[in-house]
């Protein structure tokens, strides 16, 4: 195992975060804080409690998930796409590093960045809404697993993208709508029956509910469905990234 290479990639990517603190940290924190102010404090006060939880508190896990998913995907996708775009990927490909080590470096850094942003958002949320975490270990597990899984997914997007437009398509056109329609701001039970059934096909619903369960012990589904779906998606991403890296798709040819 080339530990120095993993360390080099990891620190190199984390350094990018340090250089772009506004974009990496401040921007997601500000936008999520606005959600808490508008939906949590202002509108939330006029909405009745959901399963015994105030609306402001109810949306915390969903907004946390929204940030984790979009940040993990964009950090990782950009992290691998940028050197591809500038051509500096040559030194990663020419170095004595295995595919696994490349993935650990890039995905580890992306997941770390998302985790940092997630923790900052949780701290920020505590200033605006009342918040409690019923199962902190489960929450930490889901937090880390989500960051890792979607960083892997972002890595896949970054490798397969040939231009900046393709890089943005999945996060903007697919992930954001899935999160918003996945019960981040409401309970699935509040939807008409038809839309409830449609929502069952949205994988993000299970992730948000899993995270909400770790906070308040309430969920539209069994927690194991959430954990299993997240682990299954992680496996799909690992398989996808392994195949793509091994074949050198869009990089080596």
């Amino acid at each position: 195992m080339n530990f120095y290479a993993i360390r080099a990639i990891y620190l190199h990517e984390m350094d990018r975060m340090r250089r772009t603190l506004f974009q990496s940290i401040l921007s997601p924190v500000i936008s999520t804080s606005l959600y808490f102010i508008v939906f949590g404090s202002v509108i939330g006060g006029m909405i009745p409690q959901i399963d015994g939880v105030t609306y402001g508190s109810f949306i915390v896990p969903g907004l946390l998930m929204l940030t984790l998913l979009t940040q993990s995907i964009s950090n990782s996708a950009f992290g691998i796409f940028f050197p591809k775009f500038t051509g500096s990927i040559y030194e990663v490909l020419a170095a004595p590093i295995s595919s696994l080590e490349i993935i650990i470096g890039f995905v580890g850094a992306s997941a770390s960045k998302s985790l940092i942003v997630g923790i900052i958002i949780l701290i920020t949320a505590s200033f605006f809404v009342e918040m409690k975490v019923q199962y902190p270990l489960l929450m930490a597990f889901l937090l880390i697993l989500t960051c890792l899984t979607f960083s892997l997914f972002g890595f896949l997007i970054g490798i397969m993208s040939e231009n900046f437009e393709q890089l943005q398509v999945v996060p903007l056109i697919i992930i954001t709508p899935l999160v918003f329609l996945g019960g981040s701001l409401y309970s699935i039970d509040m939807l008409p029956e038809f839309w409830q059934k449609i929502s069952y096909f949205n994988p993000v619903v299970y992730l948000i509910n899993g995270m909400r369960w770790s906070f308040y012990g309430i969920s539209d589904f069994n927690i194991w469905i959430s954990v299993t779906s997240l682990v299954a998606f992680l496996m799909v991403c690992i398989a996808g990234v392994t195949v793509v890296i091994k074949k050198g798709y869009n990089i080596k040819n």
Binding site: P83, E91, L93, A94, P96, N253
Partner: protein, 309 residues
């Protein structure tokens, strides 16, 4: 000499069916400077990229120090440093971190004093904290060299290292190459400045349309394929070559004040003696005589043109 890099039947066909390399066989010796020459799109960069692990070969094998570049990639890549043709650098990072990053990628423990030594040798030390996008093109080229040397490689690939750099930097760069050779580093370079290859390379290989058309010692190639040119300056201007001299295929140059004769030094008879006798018979008065060896550039052009036919 020992073969450090051994290439056997190497081919590369890209996904769009473009044949970049076809059945390349080449051995590069330890400690030598090998110049890979060829027109644009000949396959030079593809060949280098395959050896370095950036491009996957379609067929054939490459051994570096006896190790296969695919099976034993950790061993082979650790020995190789690459200076790419394009200025591909992280623009917003500073010089020092950039070089340290490459060293880390190659599995070497951090060694700030070694990085400092390289930066000083390449006159980059005072720019160590500058961001890459603040540097000139020549400075960026130096950073690429520093990165390639950061993990102490025994083989260095220089892909068009002097493209777009000023004369001073070019000379500096060749000094660095020369000093590296003295430390035992094997250097493989591609260049469009053939006079540089002629001056610095021990051996040259000419590649065209993905095929290696010649590999030889630089001096040997020039000797075997080179022609000499005899230029005879005359006292009086002439309008045409006298009939008596037709058999020599002379060229009238310098507005009729000189004639030029090309001859093969390898031939049994150069024809110079008889030419000078025949010139005397025509009554022409000679002012000066000089000879000139055809350059590697002339030979390169001739080889490529012959291959195109």
């Amino acid at each position: 000499m020992n073969s450090l890099i051994s290439i056997k039947n190497l081919s590369k066909v890209y996904s769009n069916n473009f044949k970049a390399l076809y059945n390349i066989n080449l051995d590069i010796n330890k400690g030598e400077i090998f110049a890979l020459l060829g027109p644009n799109g000949a396959g030079k960069t593809t060949l280098i990229s395959i050896i370095c692990g950036i491009v996957t070969p379609s067929a054939g094998t490459v051994l570096v120090n006896g190790n296969d570049i695919i099976k034993d990639y950790r061993l082979t890549r650790s020995e190789i440093g690459l200076v790419p043709q394009e200025l591909t650098l992280e623009q917003f990072e500073n010089v020092f971190s950039n070089v340290c990053y490459t060293r880390g990628l190659y599995g070497k423990s951090p060694n700030p004093s070694y990085v400092e030594k390289i930066l000083k040798e390449l006159s980059l030390w005072d720019k160590k904290n500058s961001r890459i996008n603040e540097l000139s093109g020549g400075m960026k080229r130096r950073v690429l060299i520093a990165k390639a040397l950061s993990h102490e490689p025994s083989i260095l690939f220089l892909d068009e290292p002097t493209a777009g750099v000023d004369v001073e930097l070019r000379q500096d760069m060749w000094k660095v190459v020369e000093s590296l050779r003295k430390t035992g580093v094997t250097i493989i370079l591609t260049t469009h400045y053939i006079e540089e290859a002629e001056a610095i390379a021990d051996r040259v290989g000419v590649i065209n349309n993905g095929e290696m058309i010649v590999v030889n010692d630089t001096a040997e190639l020039i000797k075997s394929m080179g022609r000499k040119k005899l230029t005879i300056d005359l006292h009086e201007k002439i309008n045409s070559i006298p009939t008596l001299l037709d058999k020599y295929s002379l060229k009238l140059i310098n507005e009729g004040l000189s004639v030029c004769y090309s001859y093969d030094t390898q031939g049994s008879q150069t024809g110079i003696t008889s030419l000078l006798q025949d010139i005397k018979e025509t009554g022409l008065r000679l002012k000066d005589i000089k000879t000139e060896q055809s350059s590697l550039e002339n030979i390169f052009v001739e080889l490529v043109q012959k291959d195109e036919k």
